[in-house]
C-alpha cells in the first residue's frame, strides 16, 4: 500500500502561482468576485503567499520569502479528529479526504487546522461563462458520497485531496489494461504543472522513490512541526 507524499523545493519555487491555477481548473474551485475575495471568501486549495515572519534584509534591500501550500495530508490530522460526522477522514493510502455529501458545515475542521488549508462554501459556487463550460467532469460519487472535483453545494467544507480522482483514474486505467498499478502513474495537477519543477510526488513507503530520498535531505523540514501533526507534505529549505 503506497503512502503518498509531496516534496516542495522552495529553492526552485518561483512563486508563479501556476500550481494554484492548475488546482483551480482541475478541482473546479469556485471563483469569487474581488469584493468577496477582499472579505476573505476566496478559495485556493493550493495557496501561494508570503511566509509570515520571514522577511529578511533591511529596507530597501528586503526579501520576501514565498510559501506554496497544498494540504499537508498530516499523519495525525487535527481536522479529522474533530469532525462530528466523519465527513473528513484519512484513507489507507494516507490521503485526507472530504465528503461533501456528509459535511454538515460546522467548520470545526477549518478551525482546528493550523495550516488553514480548508475552505468553506459561504455561498453556492458560481462559475461565470465561459468558465462554466470548462468544468472538470471528474468526480467520485457513491451512495452518500461525493468527493473530488464535483461541484460543491453551498455550506460545506472543501480541501486539497492530492487530486484523489486522478489516483482513481490511474487505478482504473491499470485495471482496464490488465496490469498492476505503478505509483509513478499518478500525480496531482499542481506537480504536473509546476513551472520550476519544484514539486515532487510519490510513494513514501518505497525507500527508492524521489520523495523518500528528498525527505532524507538535510534541507527537508515540515511546516509547524511543533504542533505534532506529522505532515506528509515536506519542504526543502531555501538558501541552504
Amino acid at each position: 500500500m503506497p503512502k503518498w507524499s509531496m516534496v516542495i523545493d522552495l529553492e526552485k519555487c518561483v512563486a508563479c502561482q501556476a500550481c494554484s491555477i492548475a488546482c483551480r481548473f482541475e478541482n473546479n474551485t469556485p471563483v469569487v468576485s474581488p469584493e468577496l475575495a477582499w472579505e476573505g471568501r476566496e478559495m485556493r486549495w493550493n495557496d501561494v503567499f508570503p511566509a509570515p515572519h520571514e522577511e529578511s534584509g533591511d529596507y530597501p534591500n528586503t526579501k520576501t520569502h514565498y510559501l506554496t501550500r497544498p494540504c499537508m495530508h498530516c499523519e495525525n490530522p487535527p481536522c479529522i479528529k474533530v469532525c462530528p460526522v466523519q465527513a473528513t477522514f484519512i484513507d489507507e493510502e494516507g490521503l485526507v479526504r472530504q465528503n461533501y455529501a456528509r459535511c454538515i458545515g460546522c467548520r470545526y475542521c477549518t478551525v482546528a487546522c493550523p495550516y488553514g488549508v480548508r475552505y468553506f462554501n459561504w455561498f453556492a459556487p458560481e462559475f461565470e461563462s465561459p468558465l462554466e463550460q470548462h468544468l472538470n467532469p471528474d468526480k467520485i460519487e457513491g451512495r452518500g458520497d461525493l468527493e473530488g472535483p464535483a461541484v460543491r453545494p453551498k455550506g460545506v467544507v472543501e480541501k486539497c485531496t492530492y487530486c484523489v480522482h486522478r489516483l482513481r483514474k490511474a487505478h482504473a486505467r491499470a485495471e482496464a489494461e490488465g496490469r498492476d498499478f505503478r505509483p509513478d502513474e499518478y500525480m496531482p495537477a499542481c506537480v504536473q504543472t509546476c513551472t520550476g519543477k519544484a514539486r515532487f510526488f510519490g510513494d513514501m513507503n518505497d525507500p527508492d522513490s524521489t520523495v523518500s530520498r528528498l525527505a532524507e535531505s538535510d534541507r527537508a523540514f515540515r511546516l509547524l512541526e511543533e504542533v505534532g501533526t506529522h505532515p506528509k507534505t515536506i519542504y526543502l529549505q531555501e538558501g541552504k
Binding site: 462530528p84 460526522v85 454538515i104 460546522c106 509547524l224
Partner: protein, 530 residues
C-alpha cells in the same frame, strides 16, 4: 382537593389568569423581534453563511460566542438550585423555580445558536446517524442533551404538586385547555404520604445527579476550543475557567430574572433581601474565582511569549481587541466593587450628607468625561497603549480623584438598596461575560499561524439573530410564568413551617466561662439562633 391560603392564592395563582396590557405589549414586541430574526435566518438559509461577517480565517464568530454565552447562562439555574438543595440552604425555596426555568430556556436558545452556525442545517440529524464519539462536538451534543433532559425533569418534578394545586383551585372562567393542562401535569397528584416521599426522593436524587452533568456541559464546551492546537485555546485551565464563568454569568441572569418576577408579580414578601444577600455572597465568590482564572490564563501566555500565542494576547492587551478586553476588565472590576464595597461601608456613612447618589453621579460624570478626553487622541494611533503618551497628567488625576469620590459616595446608597446593587452588578457581569467569550473566541480566530491576520465584524444577520435569540429567551420565560407560578408554592409553604418551628424552639444560650455578673452575654437575647 388541595387547599391554598387566600393570601398565597391572590399573589401566586391569580395573576396567572389575568393578563394586562403590559403583558400583551411585551409579547408583541418580542414576537416582532423574533419575526425579524426569522426573516434574517431564512435569508441566510437560502443564500448561505456568506450573509454573516465570518470569513477566512475567522470561521467562527458571534454565533459561537452566543452559544457559549447562553449555555453558560443555563448554569444559573439547575446547578445553583441543585447545590442549594443538596446543602439544605433554606433561603433557596422561593427562587429555585426561576433558576431552573432559566436553565431549560437558555439551553434551548443556546442549542439554536449551533443550528444558526451550521452551513447545512438540513443535515443536523447526521450528528446522530453518523456521529463520531471521538469528536468534542459530539461530546457536547451528548452532554447538552443529557443536561437538557435532566433539567426538564428537575424543573418538572417540583411543579407536580403546584400543578395539582392549580388543578383544584382554578378560577371560574379559566379556559378549558388550561384545566386539561394542569390535570395532565399533575399526574394524578393527591398529596398523600407515599407520593410526597417518592417526590422528595426523586428530587433529591436528581439534584445530586444533575451537578456533575452541569459541570460536564461547560467543560466540554471549553474542550471544543481547548482540544485544538490553535494559539490561545490550547490550555488546560479552560475547563474550570468556563464552568466558573458559566456559573458567574448564570447568577447574574438569575438576579435579573428573579427581580423581574418579583416586580411584575409583586412577590416582595416571598423573594426578600435575604435571597439577594445570600446569593450575593456566592456571586462574590464566583467573581473572585473568575478573576483568579482570568489572571492565570493571561499571565502564563504573557510570561511564555510563544511566537504563535503571544500575538493573540497582544491583540487583546493593546491591539485591535483592546477595547473589548479592557472594557471587560473594567466592568468586571466595577461589578466587584458594587458587590463587595457596600459590605465594608460603615453604617455612619449613611447619615453623611456628602455620600449621596447625586453627588456620586456628578463626580462620575466628571470622571468619565476626563477618561473620554484621555481616550480620544488614542483612536488615531496604531496601538492603544493606555499608559504611555497620554496628553495630560492633570486629566488622569481628575479622572482618578473624581472616580474614587464617585465610587465612595455611591456606597451608602448601594448598601441600603441591595436589590438595585445586585441588578447593577448583574448587568455588568452579563455584559462582561459576553465580552469574555468574545475575547476568547475571536482573537484566536483572527490570529492563526499561517494565514494572514483577519478582521471579523459581525453582520446585521448575526446581530439580528442575537437580538431574536434574546427575545426568544425572554418570550419563553414570560409565557412559562403565565402558566406556572414563579414561586414554588409547596416549597415555600414547607419552608414557612420549618421557620415557624425553629422560631418556637427555645435554644439555650451557651454557658459563659466568664465570671458571673459585669459582662454582657456573648449572644444577643432576642435573635433566634439557627
Amino acid at each position: 382537593m388541595l387547599r391554598i391560603s387566600k393570601h398565597d392564592r391572590e399573589i401566586l395563582l391569580d395573576p396567572l389568569f389575568h393578563a394586562g396590557r403590559k403583558f400583551y405589549l411585551m409579547i408583541s414586541v418580542l414576537i416582532l423581534i423574533m419575526l425579524w430574526g426569522l426573516i434574517m435566518y431564512v435569508r441566510q438559509f437560502v443564500l448561505g453563511l456568506g450573509t454573516t461577517g465570518m470569513e477566512r480565517p475567522a470561521y467562527w464568530g458571534m454565533y459561537m460566542v452566543n452559544f457559549i454565552f447562553f449555555i453558560g447562562i443555563s448554569h444559573a439555574g439547575t446547578l445553583i438550585s441543585a447545590i442549594l438543595r443538596v446543602s439544605n440552604a433554606e433561603w433557596r425555596r422561593p427562587i429555585t423555580r426561576i433558576a431552573e426555568a432559566i436553565t431549560a430556556f437558555a439551553l434551548i436558545v443556546g442549542t439554536l445558536q449551533i443550528i444558526f452556525d451550521l452551513g447545512r442545517p438540513d443535515r443536523i440529524l447526521y450528528l446522530f446517524r453518523f456521529g463520531r464519539l471521538q469528536s468534542p462536538l459530539l461530546w457536547d451534543a451528548v452532554s447538552v442533551t443529557a443536561y437538557f433532559l435532566g433539567s426538564l425533569t428537575y424543573l418538572y418534578l417540583p411543579i407536580i404538586p403546584d400543578a395539582a394545586l392549580l388543578r383544584d383551585n382554578i378560577p371560574e372562567g379559566a379556559p378549558a385547555w388550561r384545566q386539561r393542562l394542569y390535570k395532565l401535569m399533575a399526574l394524578g397528584w393527591r398529596g398523600n404520604r407515599t407520593q410526597w416521599l417518592r417526590l422528595e426522593k426523586m428530587i433529591a436524587v436528581m439534584a445530586v445527579l444533575i451537578i456533575p452533568v452541569a459541570v460536564s456541559v461547560h467543560t466540554v464546551i471549553s474542550w471544543i476550543l481547548a482540544t485544538t492546537v490553535q494559539p490561545g485555546w490550547h490550555s488546560t485551565v479552560f475547563g474550570p475557567y468556563f464552568v466558573v464563568g458559566a456559573i458567574f454569568s448564570g447568577i447574574g441572569a438569575l438576579f435579573i430574572a428573579m427581580t423581574a418576577a418579583r416586580r411584575s408579580f409583586h412577590l416582595e414578601e416571598y423573594i426578600t433581601e435575604r435571597q439577594y444577600r445570600n446569593l450575593g455572597y456566592i456571586f462574590i465568590t464566583m467573581a473572585a474565582i473568575w478573576f483568579y482564572f482570568t489572571y492565570a490564563e493571561h499571565m502564563t501566555q504573557a510570561a511564555g511569549q510563544l511566537t504563535a500565542e503571544f500575538p493573540v494576547l497582544a491583540s487583546k492587551l493593546w491591539g485591535e481587541f483592546s477595547f473589548t478586553f479592557w472594557t471587560m476588565v473594567v466592568i468586571m472590576i466595577m461589578a466587584f466593587i458594587v458587590l463587595v464595597f457596600p459590605l465594608l461601608t460603615p453604617d455612619s456613612w449613611q447619615r453623611s450628607r456628602v455620600f449621596r447618589p447625586r453627588f456620586a453621579l456628578a463626580n462620575g460624570v466628571v470622571s468619565v468625561l476626563a477618561i473620554l478626553a484621555l481616550l480620544v487622541p488614542q483612536t488615531q494611533g496604531v496601538t492603544a497603549d493606555l499608559l504611555s503618551g497620554l496628553p495630560s497628567p492633570t486629566l488622569r488625576i481628575v479622572a482618578g480623584v473624581f472616580g474614587t469620590v464617585a465610587i465612595l459616595s455611591i456606597l451608602p446608597w448601594l448598601k441600603s438598596h441591595i436589590i438595585d446593587a445586585m441588578i447593577i452588578a448583574s448587568g455588568f457581569v452579563l455584559v462582561g461575560m459576553w465580552l469574555e467569550r468574545w475575547n476568547i473566541v475571536v482573537p484566536t480566530m483572527t490570529h492563526p499561524r499561517l494565514m494572514p491576520v483577519g478582521l471579523y465584524t459581525p453582520s446585521l444577520t448575526e446581530w439580528s439573530l442575537f437580538a431574536a435569540s434574546t427575545a426568544l429567551f425572554i418570550f419563553l420565560f414570560v409565557l412559562f410564568f403565565k402558566l406556572i407560578p414563579a414561586v414554588s408554592v409547596w416549597e415555600v409553604r414547607e419552608g414557612r413551617v420549618i421557620d415557624e418551628t425553629r422560631d418556637s424552639a427555645q435554644m439555650p444560650l451557651p454557658e459563659s466561662s466568664r465570671p458571673p455578673g459585669g459582662l454582657q452575654p456573648a449572644f444577643g437575647d432576642n435573635e433566634p439562633t439557627y
